[in-house]
Amino acid sequence: MHKLMTDTPGKKLFILGNEAIARGALEAGVSFVTCYPGTPSSEIPLQFYQLTRETDIYFEYSVNEKVALEVGAGAAATGLRTLVTMKHVGVNVAADPLMTLAYVGVKGGMVIVTADDPSLFSSQNEQDNRYYARLSGLPMLEPTTIQELKDLTAQAFDLSETMGLPVFVRTTTRLNHMRGSVDLGPLKPVAGKMRFEKDPFSKVTVPAVSRRLHQVLLSRQELALQAAETGNINQILGSGELGIVANGIAFNYVRDAINDLDLGERTSLLKLAFSHPLPRDLCLKFLQQVEQVLVVEELEPIVEQELKALAQENGLGLSIRGKGVGGLSRLFEYNPALVRQAVAEGFGLEYHAPEKIDSSDIPDLPQRPPNLCPGCPHRATYHEVKQVYGQDAVYPTDIGCYTLGLLPPISMADFLICMGSSVSSACGFAQAAEQKVVAFIGDSTFFHSGLTGLVNAVHNRHNFTLVILDNGTTAMTGHQPHPGVDGQPLDWNRRRVSIEQAVRGLGVDDVHLIKPFAVRKSIETIRATYEHQGVSVIISQEVCPLFARATRTQKPKKPYFVDHDRCRNHRDCVRQLACPAIYLDEEQVRIDEAMCVGCALCAQICPERAIRPVKTSSEAETPDA
């Protein structure tokens, strides 16, 4: 049994924040779950993926966030409790249905998890998705602890049904990826199919309908406001004269700061865990019981500005500050020391931060950026494309492991803004730039948002080559399936959509398949696209070695070693590939046998043919397929 199916109310589980969110949904009787994976949200849907054989919950990895939300909207409109999860930038993709789903509303409770990523641990920006609550008019909960991640997710379903609106649960990386002890509640049964009740004049958003629905949204917001005011989700803790307002993970930093600075008696702490709509009466009560206010919120000064407006409307002249106090910035995540310092500084308290270790005499250390894994097929494809197109071509790239092609020695990533931008921006580069253009996109990203850009490229006769890196999985976020994968090793019985057929069906005539570990042949195939006018597509097919190992779909291959009788220290392998398994020892190239997975890429580029499989060292062959 999956641990999240433990049906023992009162029992404690030590789980990840994302597992707590999934458990909260289970305790609310969630019956329908959609998502597109993305750090830091990925482990939420992972739980439901693992649960597919244990429960009747419908779960899918949708092709992208817009589709995930629309699929979920159908289920929620029918009446099923529905969870839709995505990372913060995924909400941008889902923004179109989001804005009007807010008008139409839901019948079954719908919870949308937006997992924000301050400090950009694994993202292309650090946008503050609290603005989406304001933009769409939807309620937003912001849990502060591991327990609240579970409890508020469960409560969000009830709120959603009471108000008839989808409800956001917003998290940040530190909440998603914290682990702590959670008290379990009872599980609720899963609902099956039910009859969809037709009501086209409330659900088909032609202008006449939407004019009315916009009013409906505003009246539903009144219900949400009442819930934010009267429930126990928002709380004022303490009754001192120093007011602090905090949300999300920062609430914990504030609690620790109050303890560390021994301010318990002097503070009033407003926890905003139901942050939109802003509970105006509660906030007003808070503003009236304190003499000054410090707002501690990561990223944008949203609550700070809302409180300032509220104070002004009510003729309150107290000082309300946030950004700019101590290190409180719009940039990056906060931490306990930064918040402690800001609280002390904000209230003019004497505080001396503990003396830190002087690290001024530590020499510059070599960097350790993330790198493509040993045996990663992307490394081979990059190498081969570079042999044909050189360093001068423009290489728009996309989001996935292969974005690491940015780093030397590959250095083949020139432009990236979002999922799918490789294909569409290549259209622009092909028209505007003098160089050749080769775009790279992963298989999952291609289905997510590469298809439309490719139609655009074909139709408008753009001239570039698109390389689709098909490693049979969504590798970066933890090996989720996507429409193009073979579901068999995963026991994932969904229909496979062929990338090649899709590409041909979209009108691309010049389509090539390569097996990137057959180096010479791949280079020849890539060369055939060089002079082609129009869109060429190269599909590079080779399974992710981590995925192959996890699913045991490939027999382990023999590792390779460097025969030092032959090696003349050209070091092409080292310089061109930067494979983590290849290293220098006393100026000699060696291969770490424990890391090498036997892809034989280095063996094929060695000018001396000095790299050979272990145990067959007596044979003088070099495998070159």
Binding site: K12, F14, L16, T39, P40, S42, E43, F121, S122, T145, I146, R174, H177, M178, R179, G180, S181, I249, F251, N252, Y253, R255, D256, N335, P336, A337, L338, A353, P354, E355, K356, I357, D358, S359, I362, P363, D364, L365, P366, Q367, R368, P369, P370, N371, C373, C401, L404, P408, P409, M476, T477, V574, R575, A578, C579, P580, I582, Y583, L584, A594
Partner: protein, 207 residues
């Protein structure tokens, strides 16, 4: 007990997330509240992976610069890079087996002399403990149990309210049978080496 903040720093693939989780579990089993903070995603592809365990009456799952009581380093250069994490009067436990990053192989910087690294580390904190975790893991029968050597060393510091028996119970109930023997042996080897040093150094100076 006093609040304890422990930061673990290693390289993707060395298994530091597993031992932070196990330490958290053992802490809770002992009735000490614990929070763990982990890094998932891009950093796991061979980059630096930092995690933390906070024990006691603490709400924040992460540890600020200069505020860790103990820094556990899985790789000597990474221990040095992260030295700012630990308090001036804190403890450092580090693996001494280098794992040079690929940037060194392609000529972007050179890996510092190991003795230099260890001496710099020693000069920064009151007490430092070293383990050849790679060597001890090999002795235990599995290179993959390097993390267990360090967990053994951490418990061997006698600094947390978790004894080796309690820790090993948590390891046993969370490890697949095929790995268990090597893991427990690795734990013991790490524990013995560090605890021997702790015992022979006499009582810890009161801070």
């Amino acid at each position: 007990m006093q609040n304890k903040r422990i930061v673990f720093v290693g390289v993707g693939g060395q298994g530091n997330l597993l031992i932070t989780r196990l330490l958290g579990e053992a802490s809770l089993a002992k009735g000490i509240p614990a929070l763990v903070s982990e890094i998932h995603g891009m950093a796991q592809r061979g980059g630096i992976v930092e995690s933390a365990v906070v024990m006691g009456n603490v709400s924040s799952p992460i540890v600020a610069e200069g505020e860790a009581d103990i820094l556990v380093g899985f790789e000597p250069m990474e221990t040095l890079r992260a030295i700012g994490k630990v308090r001036k009067d804190g403890l450092v436990l580090t693996n001494t087996a280098p794992l040079p990053p690929f940037t060194v192989s392609i000529g972007q910087g050179s890996y510092p002399d190991l003795e230099l690294i260890l001496n710099l580390l020693r000069s920064k904190v009151d007490r430092m403990f070293t383990l050849n975790a790679k060597g001890l893991a090999e002795t235990a029968g599995s290179l993959q149990s390097l993390n267990m050597v360090l967990l053994g060393g951490l418990i061997g510091l006698d600094h947390l309210d978790i004894g080796p028996g309690e820790m090993k119970e948590t390891i046993s109930s969370n490890t697949k049978k095929s790995f268990l023997e090597a893991n427990l042996k690795a734990f013991d080897l790490g524990w013995e080496e560090v605890n021997h040093e702790v015992q022979s150094a006499g009582p810890e100076p009161v801070s």
